[in-house]
Symmetry: C2
Subunit: 204 residues, 2 copies
């Protein structure tokens, strides 16, 4: 179990559901919220920066971290491994700031085991057809890759009941507003605000 | 138990904590949210309108409604009785819209018994001193009335642990943002969004 003074948010979504747009805007707009940086064995894509987008490590180092219990959760996706570093997460949580972790459904389930009060948020595409349309319009994937992504998306969607919140990304503004609201509402939750309430009460 | 397709929110606060300002703004700003109208035995104050601010009824009628089980909850405060009408509430909830109920802590506990998934929100003053200051600056109450209100406020604050959310009204803008966020976050909660998620999943 990981103790933490700040809130932990996890966001998952099938590829093409708009998760990157939503999380990037959230982290820019909401104060005192840190975006998680994962470790990965995949190679950097053009524009990706070490220590900002990912910590890029090789298979040997990843294996070693797995053996040492260095990951809170890790998964393999499309032949590459991704993991949330335990020391990294503990370091960020010790600051008292809130943290947003972007992880796959399997990783999210594993994370909940060590941080039971993490708030799990799933970004829903409005429909299978619209998801496929978005994947095609990005022009990044072959037909075969899109077929695999759609298959994977279905598998991820099947886990929706494990999440606390489902944000439907039909209208981007509304979706963003809901996404941000989850962070602010969590900051006003009883568990978070009890110490402040006790202090007020003591003054009466 | 009352079945309902919409969300039920309850807001409580000691007098002077800024609840009216926050709730009025919320109901003006958030679509598909109805503000509850209570029944009361107290007389209308200048500017109050029957059927908008309250349903004003006499003691005899209130007694009859109590006997007939016509209230979801009712309480007596400062010699007057206030209650949430069961038929009224069922009627509003049947529309599928969300409802915001403004009720005392005792009433809120009673309401939770019939609507267990109601979200209970407590507005916290930043301190006892600031609450007393606000009550004095309103110029509506005598010293003795303020003493009674402060005593009552302490009693209400002692119930804070029964609430889901505590909104500290120190900075009004931040408090309003948190208050509104609770509504939008609840609309994205798993229970609320499950039918939509199932529909999306069926398309895959």
């Amino acid at each position: 179990m990981i103790q933490h003074p700040g809130n932990v948010f996890v966001v998952s979504a099938p590829s093409g559901a708009g998760k990157s747009t939503l999380t990037q805007r959230l982290v820019r707009s909401v104060p005192d919220l840190i975006f998680s940086i994962s470790f990965t064995t995949r190679k950097p894509r053009p524009g990706e920066v070490e220590g900002r987008d990912y910590f890029f490590i090789d298979d040997e180092r990843f294996d070693a971290m797995v053996r040492e219990g260095g990951f809170v959760e890790w998964v393999e996706v499309y032949g590459h491994r991704y993991g949330t570093g335990r020391d990294w997460l503990n370091g960020v949580l010790a600051t008292g700031l809130d943290v947003l972790l972007d992880i796959e459904t399997t990783g999210a389930m594993n994370l909940r085991k060590v941080i039971p009060d993490a708030r799990l948020i799933f970004i829903l595409p409005p429909s299978a057809a619209s998801l496929e349309q978005r994947l095609r319009s990005r022009g990044k994937d072959s037909d075969e890759q899109i077929r695999i992504r759609m298959h994977h998306a279905r598998h991820e969607l099947e886990q929706y009941q494990a999440y606390d919140y489902l944000v439907m990304n039909d209208d981007l503004e509304l979706a963003y507003h809901q996404f941000e609201s989850i962070v602010y509402a969590t900051r006003a939750s009883l568990g978070r605000m009890s110490p402040a309430a006790r202090r007020v009460l003591e003054g009466f």
